[in-house]
Amino acid sequence: MRRLISASLALFMTTTAAFAQAVPGGKLNLIVQPEPPSIMIGTTTNGPALLVGGNIYESLLRYDENLKPEPSLAKSWTVSDDGLTYTFTLQDDVKWHDGKPMTSADVLFSANDYLMKMQPRHRNLMTHVESVTAPDDKTVVFKLKEPFEAFIRGLAFYTMPVLPKHIYEGTDYATNPANDKPIGTGPFKFDEWKRGSYIHLVKNPDYYVKGKPYLDELYYQVIPDGASRSVAFETGNIDVVPGGSVENFDIPRLKDLPNTCTTEKGWEYFAPLSWLWLNNRKAPMDNVKFRQAVMYALDREFAKDVLWNGYGKVATGPLSSKLPFYKDVEPKYPHDVEKAKELLKEIGYDGKPLKLLPLPYGETWQRWAEAVKQNLEEVGIPIEIEAADVAGWNQRTSNWEYDIAFTYLYQNGDPAIGVDRNYKTSQIAKGNPFNNVEGYSNPELDKLFDEAAVAYPASKRQELYDQAQKKLQEDVPVAWLLELGFPTIYNCKVQDIVTTASGLPESMRDAWIKK
């Protein structure tokens, strides 16, 4: 028997989210910071490129805030009981922006050809895939080598965008002139890009979802200076400030302006989690009790309230609570100075000073390092803050030349994609600041993670991930800090501004302006 996931249910849910009746018309001014090198998201996948390109290109699926798949270019899909065969049925009457029809051939071209050459993230996902085929114009079938449940969350617009075969086939993908004038299937069409000034998108009148998009025009304004970005919003020249595009210390001032709304939603897929790398190879960080003491010493509520303006959430463990398979398990580490001191006394810590490497991403991170230093010195761990620029930070963390170092990473929708890379023994390799940099190695945990990645169905994975989270929280290989919150600040007249787990890039098709 096949399990059919109903598209209509998902559609029903998104429409009820909008209480008022959407009205068409109007334009929005958004900030894009920094100006992207390109908005062709098949090749350029940094945040600003996605912010703009997400309106032009689409993928088979999109995801709601719980990372449940919703229809995008695929109107429905089925998964075989063994978890090996995914069959997608495409939407009717989808046209490229140049008027040509979009068919399963385009999906095949993107998945098998274009993205295999251009996107490492896609190649990683495809290691689990045996074959991609198209029985007819409207159907695409992915056959997997093993039941990889995370696959269903790997079809977002920035991991597997569907690109036009008739434009790219047989050309040099990197230099194709269409990269400067992108052609997609999305709700907005590319109009003009004035370098250093703005990117202008206009409504796609032939969009396959009837009535959408509501907005006529989108302007993505390029404003290189941080203070000017804040002022542009204050003066009303900008309607939407995407998360992370103004300095943290400007946020309290902006959000208190009249007629200004904020939302933390739209980061569920990326789920940025911050932590301190504790170099497990060195004493005293090799002692689990020392690492636990560090956890107890940290006042993470303070960091959230004071440094991050109350946005975000104190992390309980290796998984962000936004991620599927997250479980609120024990042990947890509230701020407890006495307990930290006790643990340090127990292991006979000699008071050797340790070095702390802050993340060189501006004032907030510098202040955070100062707060952590203060927290640790309060329990008797002397800390010296080191200075490093971005290159220096990268080099030191990826070559393991640190005692304690700040970082934050995206978790990308599934623990098998964005979490186990930081804890598995097989991921210990110099030269990469995003893998198992702390050097934690536990065969029992390796086994749990390996089994959980390919267990099927989801309930089996949940059991394994529950155990993995508990084990990691006992061992504290790194000191988890906060699930970071990057609020989107916008004029309250804009409605339905974030409707998916990846936020602004995908949501403009649903956004509208209250008159």
Binding site: L307, R367, E377
Partner: protein, 279 residues
Amino acid sequence: MKDFWKRFSQNRGAVVGLVILLLVVILSIVAPFIFTKSPWAMVQRPFIPPFTMDAFVLGTDPMGRDLAAGLAHGARVSLLVGLVSTVVSLLIGIPIGAIAGYFGGWVDDLLMRFTEFFQSVPSFALAVVLVAIFQPSIYSIVISIAVVSWPPVARLLRGEVMSLRSREFVEAAVLSGQTHSTIIWRQILPNTISPIIVLASMMVAAAILIESSLSFLGLGDRNIMSWGYIIGAGRTVIRQAWWVSFFPGLAILLTVLALNLVGEGLNDALNPRLARKGR
């Protein structure tokens, strides 16, 4: 000595400067006794305005740190950096200037071209580059300030030594068979002390300014609370909390002004004839 003090006190500004300077010195000495906690300690809620809580007279910064404690501890750092870097630059500048002025000829040419090489680079830019290369720490800051501020010492001393070199008492010393080093040490240098003292007081002020500017730019020692650092950290919240940048700014202004006033007073006191000419 009595004469010295009389001449010094004739300059009202110098006396005011001396009083301010003494206050700053006292503050820096008693800082650890009044503010026993580390100035980095987050002691109260952030953004308490000044003069609203008795325990935190100057209020708190964006992290809830006591601003008054930061200022008091910062005074030690600023004075220490100012003094030490001045001493170091004197140690570089005096020998170079003395040797160049005493021997003259190609030695003088060589040393002065070397000095001009340093003088031709904008000093603050050079200091920024040096600190960036050697990683920001209190040592690299002191060294780089010293490296950029010794050339005026060398120039001044060269001129002084040259004029003393042709005096009779030096010629007498040469005739009596004293070695070069004895003549420089015993006969010439003691006579150059007064202009050096005047210059040094100005250099301390300049060094405090350079240190503050470096810290403001984020090139300070990350583990040391200095005035420049407090201003740099407060700059981002200047619209919500003016006092975080204002008070350390005032402290720098007063200290530097005081040092300059004292320097002028010393000039009057040590070179009475020159001073009267200036009036």
